[in-house]
């Protein structure tokens, strides 16, 4: 196995697919663990957007894994090469497990530049083409604890031909094999885990082929690619993921890329996904929105009364479009703080939220910061949205443990009335 001692301990499996447990001994020293279902800490070059270490650590429980992307890092190859100490030290990161992915799911990704031997990422200066050799050179400089193999995932556009999908599967397998070869020869990557990437677009046969073949390789886990929001509807996504996870070993984790919306997360957990990327809070922040969807399922008579009151006050109107496939549009899981109705609302963003923003500030203040284009708006919203989203994942785990997934889904969608 590619250097990994990552252990997946499952405490519960529902319907043979939906899993609750813990990923243990992650990190080179094996000193960290990650509860699953869980999400990663999204970052730009190691920095959670808008936040410094001080503001980041106002969050009481951070995911133990920080995600960085080659699309941010690739342009700094020379610097990292000269630095030699690995990315974590270069960035002054806190004690965290570093996961290196290829693309940034929250960034626009142009298509049409992938070849048999290369994939491309877009840095601040433009397109950077990566061969496996260059990809692995970067990994040796970054020295992550875990990374995904180079893969061709350009299958999400409508009308991608079967031929193109097949190519993405073939190429990704070839890239994986090459990565593993280089990995085994690289001292800098000793103890580092590699995930294989399952491709196959929206074609069941290709998905199964990719899954079976990738599972044959000595990888520590699997990335599920090409399923991102907008690539297909949730029904198809669930169907394909369920079929794919059938082919994957039970004792290795599955990380789904490009999906972050709470309702999609729930459906994918039930289809067999263990890990998600954490970019959704960032997207909400950039819209000037605060995540506010509920995820409490413990029966609470007081909140039921409050719910009725809010229904009457018209407050539980969905804020956005549930079926919106465009990741930049506001979803029903958030509120638009720029809306005039928040101008003199002195309540916290979300009642009962323990984040720094909700403990210290009010909607009226955040509204003011957004209207006046102040940088602090992004800082406060990012703190709240990150906290809210991670609390949601905790709720998912609790719901799984207590057989309350159905209740949770209805609560999240806002259709729970009792």
């Amino acid at each position: 196995m590619a250097g990994s001692r990552m252990k997946l301990e499952l405490s519960k499996v529902v319907q043979g697919r939906c899993r609750l447990g813990q990923l243990k001994e992650i990190g080179r020293m094996g000193q960290h663990s990650l509860d699953i279902p869980g999400c990663l800490l999204y970052s730009h070059l190691g920095t959670v957007p808008h936040l410094t270490q001080d503001t980041l650590h106002t969050l009481s429980s951070l995911p133990t894994v920080t995600q960085v992307t080659l699309s941010n890092i690739a342009e700094h190859q020379e610097v990292l090469d000269e630095f030699k100490g690995g990315f974590k030290t270069f960035a002054g990161l806190h004690d965290t497990v570093l996961y290196c992915s290829l693309h940034d799911s929250a960034a626009h990704r142009p298509t049409g530049h992938t070849t048999n031997k290369t994939v491309s990422v877009w840095g601040s200066g433009g397109r950077i083409e990566l061969t496996v050799a260059k990809f692995m050179a970067l990994q040796r400089m970054v020295q992550p604890d875990w990374y995904q193999a180079m893969a061709d995932g350009e299958t999400w556009q409508t009308g991608t031909s079967r031929k193109r999908v097949r190519k993405s599967v073939d190429r990704s397998l070839a890239h994986l094999d090459e990565c593993l070869l280089v990995h085994q020869k690289s001292q800098e990557l000793d103890g580092v885990s590699v995930f294989g990437v399952v491709e196959g677009g929206d074609i069941l046969e290709e998905r199964l082929r990719s899954a079976r073949e990738t599972a044959k390789r000595p990888v520590a886990g699997f990335c599920l690619d090409g399923f991102q929001t907008g690539a297909m509807d949730q029904a198809l996504r669930s169907q394909l993921i369920a079929a794919v996870t059938e082919e994957l070993p039970e004792d290795k984790p599955r990380l789904l890329q490009g999906v972050g919306r709470p309702d999609e997360v729930l459906a994918c957990v039930e289809a067999g996904v263990d890990l998600f990327e954490g970019f959704f809070p960032f997207q909400a922040t950039e819209r000037g929105c605060a995540l506010c969807f509920r995820f409490d399922v413990t029966p609470d008579p007081e909140s039921a009364v409050a719910d009725e009151g809010r229904h009457a006050a018209g407050e539980t109107q969905p804020n956005g479009d549930l079926n919106c496939d465009d990741q930049t549009h506001m979803t029903r899981f958030e509120m638009d703080l720029k809306d005039k109705r928040h101008q003199d609302d002195f309540r916290p963003l979300v009642e009962g939220c323990g984040c720094y923003c909700c403990r210290n500030h009010q909607r009226a203040y955040v509204h003011h910061l957004l209207v006046t284009n102040e940088l602090l708006a992004g800082v406060l919203l990012m703190m709240h949205n990150t906290s809210h989203y991670h609390s949601f994942f905790r709720a998912v785990r609790e719901a799984l443990a207590n057989d309350k997934m159905d209740l949770l889904r209805r609560r999240v969608l806002g259709t729970l009335t009792e």
Binding site: Q53, G123, N360, Y365, H368, L375, G378
Partner: protein, 424 residues
């Protein structure tokens, strides 16, 4: 025509009303045991005119000399209140013009004043809005009544009068309020300067009368007079007759020559009372701070450190460092190896250089460093005054800041010489 916030600036309504108001304010004055401002002079430099003081204000005490960062719209550009407090900031600025426009004084009052709105529990100083009249807004007209201008948001004509400015500042609840002054650019010459100086005195009196909370909010006068020594002296003579808790030196820090600038500063401190704080408005470059402390100033504010941070310019004892420049791409030391701020303790120039291409947090890191730099500088200045070695501090400071003595700016050499500090 509507005034800022929608109410007409009220002239005296009826004598009865006026009397009742005066009586209750008199009562407030006698009943309040603790004045809203006390200045305790801890040390005076025997060589220069510098002082180190403890300034006690309603929300907390402030050690002077002090640099006050500017949080224009009720926020310090990407820094949380906790972070600002963590850096040791005891007082910062809010801006009456901006906050008076958005979100407006009524809302801020509902939020328990600007302190409540921003959740800042230390001190706040608000300026009057006068400076923005000159620098930002399409100026309609200055009359004896006040400043008429067009709102940039809806084009409506607004009048900012002394009464209106104080009313907004009363709603903001700042610990120190500035009078509305008739602001004239320091590059303007001629009779307009004299007119503005006299009007500022009359507006000071109107501001004093309009202050609803003299027991909680300190109103500072602003000495005007441009670059004319006689006008400035006349202004000083008149304004120091008023019993205000503190004085600001205004009308400088514009485009004037530094040679004129320092002479007006020292003239002003010569004629301001010793036992009241002296606030030099709009001054924030390190050299200017050090020299003007030597000339007898206690308080300073400037947008420069926080504004320049957002462009990647980090302030250091030897000048500044443009982090975004290529030369720092592979520079793995912190901005200042001796700096104890959160940025320098954790991040390198190279990382910050790279981060500027990926995330706004890069700006926040530099902002934090620059505020720390300014506050640390003032802390060191104060310490050297307390320990009776301020002149030596000045010499060391200059040596560090300038590669060689022939690069010392002439105005600074002269200014320091005027207070008995001879630079080589």
């Amino acid at each position: 025509m509507s005034t800022v916030g929608g109410n007409m600036a009220a002239p005296i309504t009826s004598e009865a009303d006026g009397n009742i108001k005066e009586n209750s304010m008199f009562l407030k004055k006698t009943l309040s045991a603790v004045p809203p401002l006390t200045l305790r002079i801890v040390a005076e430099c025997p060589v220069t005119k510098a002082r180190a003081c403890d300034l006690t204000l309603p929300h907390s005490s402030v050690s002077t000399p002090v640099f006050m960062p500017v949080g224009t719209q009720g926020t310090l550009k990407g820094i949380t209140a906790d972070q600002l407090e963590g850096l040791g900031c005891q007082i910062c600025l809010g801006n009456t013009y901006h906050l008076g426009m958005r979100p407006g004084p009524e809302l801020i009052e509902k939020a328990n004043g600007l302190h409540g709105f921003m959740n800042w529990r230390r001190n706040l100083l608000t300026d009057s809005g006068g400076f923005q009249m000159v620098s930002l807004v399409e100026l309609s007209e200055v009359t004896e009544e006040g400043v008429k201008f067009k709102s940039p948001y809806d084009g409506k004509e607004i009048l900012l009068s002394p009464e209106k400015s104080i009313s907004i500042q009363n709603s903001l609840g700042s610990d120190i309020m500035m009078q509305l002054d008739d602001v004239v650019s320091s590059t303007v010459k001629g009779p307009r300067v004299e007119e503005a100086m006299h009007r500022s005195i009359r507006w000071l009196d109107r501001c004093i009368a309009a202050n609803k909370h003299p027991d909680k909010q300190n109103l500072f006068a602003i000495i005007q007079g441009g670059l004319d020594a006689e006008l400035r002296k006349a202004c000083l003579d008149e304004m120091t007759k008023r019993d205000v808790p503190g004085f600001a030196i205004g009308g400088l820090s514009g485009g004037e020559e530094k040679d004129d600038f320092w002479r007006m500063v020292t003239l002003s401190t010569d004629h301001l009372p010793r036992e009241k704080p002296r606030y030099l408005m709009g001054v924030g470059y390190a050299l200017d701070l050090v020299v003007c402390v030597a000339l007898g100033c206690d308080m300073f504010d400037c947008v420069f450190p926080t504004r320049t941070a957002r462009f990647g310019s980090a302030l250091v004892p030897w000048g500044s460092l443009q982090v975004k420049q290529k030369q720092y791409a592979k520079d793995f030391q912190p901005i200042d190896p001796d700096c104890q701020c959160p940025t320098c303790k954790r991040h390198s120039r190279a990382y910050l250089h790279a981060l500027f291409k990926s995330d706004t947090a890069a700006m926040h890191h530099i902002t934090i460093h620059n505020i720390a730099y300014q506050l640390t500088l003032m802390r060191s200045v104060r310490q050297s005054i307390v320990e009776g070695r301020f002149p030596e501090f000045i010499l060391t400071f200059m040596k560090r800041m300038f590669p060689s003595p022939d690069q010392y700016p002439g105005w600074a050499v002269e200014a320091l010489a005027s207070v008995n500090v001879t630079l080589e």
